[in-house]
């Protein structure tokens, strides 16, 4: 009896195991260029008209093409639009579309041609509030976009987008928009086949079957928390420039932990190397040659001094308010922050390479080859390190003298971090210790507080429950105006408009007026200079302390980052088109050489493009 039982159990086990493993080896990689990686951030949809998440951008970037793209130096290139023009005041943009571009199904079968109407359909979907698009706020740049979204207008024909014929598309702007082209790489301006969309209804973009593709890749497999496979689109209009045949994303919740090991075992082709293990890689000759820095991105990080403190009474927000309205106090913090030591927690080897002295990072926009950050009022700031302990102590003395009797010392400063990010936590601890050591515990008292990992913004930043906070911002379009949003009125950051003593005659803050003036200027050279002035003012007055650019850390990857399309906007950086798999991963030395060469080439290319 008992033996029978055991036998039965054993059979079941064997059967179960056999059943699971009988499917055979699915992966054969002879002669195909396959790129494999692990991921932990899951994508929730393929519906590019709806999403606004980086992981999903990475999908749509490779599956769907928009009107334009960039080359590896960040210069606009034709994609689905072959040529375009704008009217005098940049309010009407007309695009001539490429002919013969196909929509294909997930099996690679041709479904329809891509026509101008598809772009209209796409925008219509995005601006229809009931579709809950997360990128609609960008699309409202077109005329009546906002009104349609809010339901004030119900006829979409009144919205500023028209298909003049099958291959001519015209956008009308709400306001003059010289940088409109840079917005076109956002998913909200991507096309969609209206017929297909109508047919799929709510299920559009939920699975690989309910999505149409016109990009470099087609989705071959899409299983949440398991695997995604992209294969090259054989009907792609520019398929000669697609060198990777297959991209496999394997899910791992612990991707960060195991990816380096998987990379070493040759199971994947790219792995981010967490800071905590970078030492070990650098100390190992063999591993060292496979490791390189990650390329900087355009996220900019800064420490914001809060002018609207709403943190708990026990930390004396009123006292902080008095202190923060003193320029010398702010300047003492500005010069006291040793950004290198903070950066060491994430980039222990070349911390300086990530530091950023301005809000707008370099390589963002330029005036005839001169980078925005090198424009007159900003150049000084860009070229000197803000950290200066002598100056800091000098300002401290002044501040203590001026604030004597008005504020109580040490000034309590709540400095929260997101408990979901260990790096942030570490950095905050370093900053606390460094500032207190330098300026003295008699002057400031930093209180490190763990914020919630979800709802951090709505819990901490939006209600102003901080004195000093590390914050970041990413640009939306190719114009310095994109970096002013956090600090202008209505921004949800540190409310510099509440700073005392900076209100101009018209009742607006000085910074606001500077920005408004810059926005009104249409000539790029003057416009950028005005923006540079505004930004210099913001930093000069130490409303914020610029810290770094995004893209921290190291990676072991068989991709050459300098082959990739380059642009801060939209989904461009996520495209695999144009990239090749290297035999061996790039080492950091190679990376730096390549970076230097690239910067050189870029300057030339920009100058050429300017002509």
């Amino acid at each position: 009896m008992r033996k029978l039982w055991l036998l039965l159990l054993a059979t079941v086990t064997a059967f179960v195991l056999a059943a699971c493993s009988d499917k055979g080896d699915g992966s054969s990689k002879d002669e195909v260029s396959e790129y494999r990686t692990v991921y932990s951030g899951e994508i929730k949809t393929l519906n590019y008209l709806k999403t606004a998440e980086a992981n999903e951008f990475a999908m749509s970037a490779n599956l769907i093409d928009g009107l334009i793209e960039y080359d590896q130096y960040g210069i606009v290139q034709p994609s689905l639009a072959e040529e375009w023009s704008a009217n005098e005041d940049n309010t009407v943009w007309t695009f001539k579309l490429r002919e013969g571009v196909k929509w294909v199904t997930h099996e690679g079968e041709e479904y329809a041609d891509v026509v101008a109407q598809d772009f209209v359909e796409g925008l219509n979907y995005v601006l229809d509030a009931k579709n809950e698009s997360s990128t609609a706020w960008i699309a409202t740049v077109v005329k009546n976009g906002d009104a349609f979204y809010n339901g004030e207008i119900t006829d979409f024909a009144e919205v500023g987008v028209k298909a003049l014929d099958d291959y001519t598309l015209e956008y009308t702007m709400e306001n003059p928009t010289p940088y409109f082209l840079s917005m076109l790489n956002y998913v909200c301006f991507f096309p969609v086949n209206g017929e297909f969309l109508a047919e799929k209804g709510d299920t559009f973009g939920t699975t690989k079957e309910t999505t149409l593709y016109n990009g470099a890749f087609i989705l071959d497999k899409f299983e949440s928390q398991n695997e995604r496979v992209l294969v090259k689109n054989e009907s792609y209009w520019d398929k000669d420039n697609v060198y990777i045949d297959r991209i496999r994303y394997k899910y791992n919740k612990e991707a960060l932990t195991v990816a380096p090991e998987l990379f070493l075992r040759g199971e994947i082709d790219s792995a981010e190397i967490p800071t905590s293990v970078v030492d070990e890689w650098f100390n190992d000759e063999e591993k060292k040659s496979q490791l390189r820095q990650i390329r900087n991105n355009f996220y900019t990080y800064f420490y914001a001094l809060n002018f609207n403190p709403q943190f708990d009474e026990e930390y004396e927000p009123q006292n902080w308010k008095v202190a923060v309205n003193n320029k010398n106090f702010r300047k003492s913090l500005y010069h006291a922050l040793d950004r290198v030591s903070a950066m060491l927690t994430t980039e222990p080897f070349e911390p300086e390479s990530l530091l950023n002295n301005t809000i707008t990072p370099k390589n963002f926009v330029d005036v005839d080859g001169v980078d925005y950050t090198q424009l007159a009022p900003l150049a000084d700031i860009s070229n000197t390190d803000s950290f200066n302990s002598d100056l800091a102590l000098e300002f401290k003395e002044k501040a203590m003298a001026e604030l004597d009797g008005k504020a109580t010392f040490p000034v309590k400063m709540v400095i929260p971090y997101n408990s979901g990010s260990p790096d942030w936590a570490n950095r905050t601890q370093v900053v606390e210790q460094q500032l207190e050591n330098l300026l003295g515990a008699d002057y400031i008292d930093l209180i490190v507080e763990a914020g919630p990992s979800t709802g951090f913004l709505s819990e901490i930043r939006h209600p102003g429950k901080y004195a000093l906070l590390e914050a970041n911002w990413g640009p939306d379009y190719a114009d310095p105006a994109s970096y002013t949003d956090p600090f202008t009125e209505g921004g949800t950051y540190n409310k510099p408009e509440l700073a005392e003593g900076y209100t101009d005659a018209n009742g607006k803050s000085k910074y606001q007026n500077l920005v408004d003036a810059a926005k009104a200027e249409m000539d790029p050279a003057k416009r950028y200079e005005l923006f540079a002035q505004a930004e210099a003012f913001l930093i000069e007055e130490a409303f914020v302390i610029p810290y770094a650019v995004g893209g921290t850390g190291y990676i072991a990857s068989k991709l050459n980052p300098f082959e990739a399309q380059y642009s801060p906007f939209g989904v461009t950086l996520e495209k695999f088109k144009g990239q090749r798999l290297l035999e061996e991963p790039m080492s950091n030395e190679e990376f730096k050489e390549a970076l230097a060469a690239w910067e050189q080439e870029r300057t030339e290319a920009l100058a050429n493009a300017g002509e």
Binding site: M1, R2, L6, L9, A10, V12, T13, V16, L17, C20, S21, K23, G24, D25, G26, S27, E42, K44, T45, N47, K50, T51, A52, E53, A129, K130, E132, S134, T135, A136, W137, Y149, N150, D202, T203, F204, G205, T206, T207, E223, S224, Q225, N226, K250, Y251, N252, K253, E254, V258, E261, L262, R265, E267, P452, T454, G455, L457, S458, E459, D476
Partner: protein, 314 residues
Amino acid sequence: MLWYIGKRLLQSVLTLFIIITIVFSLLRLMPEEGYLGAAAEKMTPEQQEIILTNLGLRDPLLVQLGNFYMDLFKGELGTSVTYRTDVPVTTIISEKIMYSLLFGLGAVVMSLVIGVPLGILMAHMKGRWLDRLGTGYIVFVVAVPAAVYYIFIQMYVTDLFNLPLLFDEYNKMSWILPLTSMALAPTASYAMWMRRYMVDELNKDYIKLARAKGVKERTLMFRHVMRNAFIPMAQYLPATILFTITGSIYIESLYSIPGMGGLLVDAIQRQDNSVVQGLVLIFSSLGIIGLFLGDLAMALVDPRIKLGKGGSTR
């Protein structure tokens, strides 16, 4: 008997109803930022409001609850919002449930096959080295948090036997570690139960009598001791099996197994209420079914208990 089952079923449905209602309301306490995702940062408050309204989050709680039950009545669990936008929850769960089932069943079978004989042997060799070794193992597995030894297993055993780090459904070798890790704890508890009940049983007078009568040790073990020792186990078995099937969050995330445990954590972190609700429904139903089956099994195995007299509490 039928009346008893009917009563228990009704009671279970009511319990389930309350559980779901509570979880439903709890989920509404989560910060709303989660529904908006990364884009929240750049949307105007009005735009955020429109999206939240469209998601039905601005309806009164009762209306939301009503809608949920209406759907449930139709056999639908709604569609996912932030996990897989617009995909029916049933589809999502059905993709995952197979993995959890396979691993859960595999682990249970493995732990029964190893744990029960281990417990019997330990009882048989009470006080000797095998018993001590087994006790050491049980103490270790029960006392040390699973997360800790799971990590160590993954860390060292993959190197030692050159096993894959991650689960890959096509690679047989990749099943070994997750299954073994998952089976460790239930093996320990089966062995522990088996040993305890066997020892209790062996100390009883009738066994001494049987021994004195010269009944063969073998017959004694299998006929008398084991059968009686199984009775208390029968009650807990269904519950533990179901518990194992509902998946191990650790194992699933450590080895990238696309099962329900990982889904649950993900869905909660992404605030996908409908998915969480669906999972709670499944987990709670399984839990209640487990209780019910346990009582039933107990009644079937133990001749002393008859169904019909009052509900039994565990």
